[in-house]
């Protein structure tokens, strides 16, 4: 485990590298290259929890687009992550394995990062949540369609795979759920980073926007909206810290659900405080709002997870506390 100082240093390095890349090349910045230079894969192997936390928070906070989620999923599924290996993610708002076997043929459909465009191979998990299999298929088996959607800069792809599951391996029963837990934590960190930035943008606006003879930050209605947003962000960060200390599918699912709720709360209050300017593409707020809308659906939306969690509480008639002091 790394200590707090090492962690802070890592965080600063990653943030600086991403900021530098964005400053030089803007939206065309190759964030994956910047991460590779920082030895992201080495970090992921040595300290996966800290690496995911730091890198995805930074990506969210800066609205940078990378394909690091493929590496997180590949390594969680027991494969050596590499730039040439894309991973098929579940469909939007879902988290079951994206593939199934239909008359001896592999049929899969889901989302992917931009890595799906150029990677030579794609890792596909198929079967059920409790009996997952994985297979690596050649790029030629995947039909990749770029999605514009609400956030064209998010780089999401819709992918259909058809082919034979040659060399498929049966995974441990818990492997898919563990991988989803990792992925959920990564995406939740990205949402947390974006939420922090939305709040900071609205805070800056409240302090600098002058109306009725002074900054609007002096109005209690504005202050309370921003306070509400901070409560949500801090609760999310605490949930993520707990999910890192007690890593399991339950804590990760809750953190992801809280991330979705938080993004909604923060965006609603911050957009209202930003008022007219937050409604334009001149202000950067909209990029963070759109990114959180896109990220919300990866590995399940808050509503879907809450429903699933609630069903389990009722099925078992048991409320677990999950974390201790």
């Amino acid at each position: 485990m790394i200590d707090a100082d090492e962690r802070a240093a890592m965080e600063a390095t990653v943030r600086r590298a991403i900021a530098d890349a964005l400053e030089v090349a803007g939206e065309a910045a190759d964030i994956d290259a910047a991460l590779a230079e920082l030895d992201w894969l080495g970090m992921l192997e040595d300290e996966p929890d800290a690496a995911i936390d730091i890198v995805f928070s930074a990506l969210g906070a800066t609205n940078a687009t990378a394909t690091a989620l493929d590496d997180v999923m590949a390594s969680a599924l027991g494969r050596e992550p590499r730039a040439d290996l894309a991973v098929l993610l579940p469909r939007f708002a879902a988290w079951d394995p994206p593939g199934r076997i239909d008359a001896d043929e592999l049929a899969a459909q889901g989302l992917a990062t931009g890595r799906a465009d150029g990677a030579g191979e794609m890792l596909v998990v198929f079967g059920s949540e409790s009996e997952p299999w994985s297979v690596v298929v050649p790029a030629t088996a995947a039909e990749v369609t770029a999605v514009r959607g609400v956030d064209p800069d998010a780089g999401l792809r819709v992918v259909r795979v058809r082919g034979r599951a040659v060399g498929a391996t049966r995974l441990e029963p818990a492997a898919w759920q563990s991988a989803v837990a990792r992925g959920r934590r990564a995406v939740a960190h990205e949402i947390a980073g974006a939420s922090r930035t939305m709040l900071e943008l609205a805070r800056t606006h409240a302090l600098t926007r002058v109306q009725f003879g002074g900054p609007i930050a002096r109005f209690q209605a504005v202050r309370h909206r921003l306070a509400e947003a901070l409560v949500a962000v801090e609760a999310l960060e605490a949930a993520l810290a707990a999910a890192r200390d007690e890593p399991n599918p339950d804590t990760a699912a809750l953190a992801k659900a809280i991330a979705g709720r938080t993004a909604h709360t923060v965006a609603r209050h911050c957009q209202q405080v930003l008022a007219g300017i937050g409604f334009t593409t001149e202000h950067s707020f909209q990029r963070f709002l759109k990114r959180t809308l896109a990220l919300e659906g990866i590995f399940g939306s808050a509503d879907a997870i809450v429903l699933e969690v609630g069903r389990r509480l009722l099925a078992t008639r048991h409320v677990p506390t999950l974390i201790e002091l």
Binding site: R203, A206, L207, P215, A217, R218, F219, Q220, R223, H224, L226, A227, E228, L230, V231, E234, A235, L236, A238, A239, A241, A242, T251, L254, A257, I258, R261, D303, V306, L307, E308, V309, G310, R311, L313, L314, A315, R317, H318, V319, T321, L322, I323, E324, L325
Partner: protein
Amino acid sequence: MSSSQSSSRLPDPTSPLADYRETLRAWLDANHEALAPRYDPPGSLDDRIAQMQRVKAILFDAGWMQFGWPERVGGRGGPPMLRTELGAALAARDLTDPGLFSLIEVLAPTLIDFAPPELAAEVVPRLLSGAELWCQGFSEPDSGSDLASLRCYAVPEGGDAGTASTWVINGQKVWTSLAQFSDRCVLLTRTGPVDSRHRGITAFFVDMDTPGIRVAPLAMINGELEFAEVFFDDVAVPAERMLGELHGGWAVAMSILPYERSSCFWQRIAYLYRRLQRLVDAAPDDDRAAETVGDAFVSLFALRARSRATQRRLAETGAIGAETSIDKVLVATAEQTTYDAVRRLLPGLIELDDGATGEVWRSEYLYSRAATIYGGTAEVQRNIIARRLLELGSDE
């Protein structure tokens, strides 16, 4: 059970928290019959207070109440988190009401930190063992959120604060929980000029049987007489009962915050998990119920994660401050979300059921409406968050 038998199995106060927790929980489970209430829930407030004092006496006799308290007041030492674990374990088993039990956390530390050492050594064990009950006289009819405006006066007899052996108190307190049951009161008084605000407040430790004190219980929204008005009419208090410095009462009042926002909250959280468990036991098995209990569960997890982080920071750094206004907002929100879920999923129970189950849920539901009011209103918390945490500047 004899205390000698029990203490042989007590953990070392310096042992890892997880080991302590496990031993404590096993002991509570093994002794459940002796600890469980002797009445059918909900019981009257008198029943519940008697239950709490009985539980404290058993735990004190067995040695558990002393964990986490300094040895100079009869404690066994060890970190305050040991107390938190005990309070939470009791709440999770419905053995005591955490709102009443956790008053220890906002009273005993005040004596330990601010009373003359011999006084603290004499009285703190009496609070812990259930021999006594104490209350906290802070709020006044015209001093709610604005505590620094309080005006219950304490005047030195003879006029000289430096030499007076007695102080005379006149005025009124309100919302004083358990005042009519209490043996003592930690009281904030005005000792400076009218407009001296937080610079002219002094704390006293007052015996509630002192002549001139009159307690008038107030019926809460759920019918309970948990809090009271307390009237002071020429009440004479010895000078050695002053807590902290003359005019140093604000520091005494503020010193409570870290305990209230750590241990008390963790006990409340344990209680709320227990309430959600009860709801999950009784809720229908459909998707509407799943969404509702899922929602409350998510709120409770976020709160628990936040409180855990706060307490770890307190343990590491010894200090927590304005950032705990976030914890306060989360605990109030989660509490109301939980009881709103009960009302939604068990229709008629709170509104119409005159059986024991209905009585319990109704009383607790109505009490939960105060979660955004007591201990600093939700609005005051948001003001603190805006000014101190977001640094949005003055709102004036």
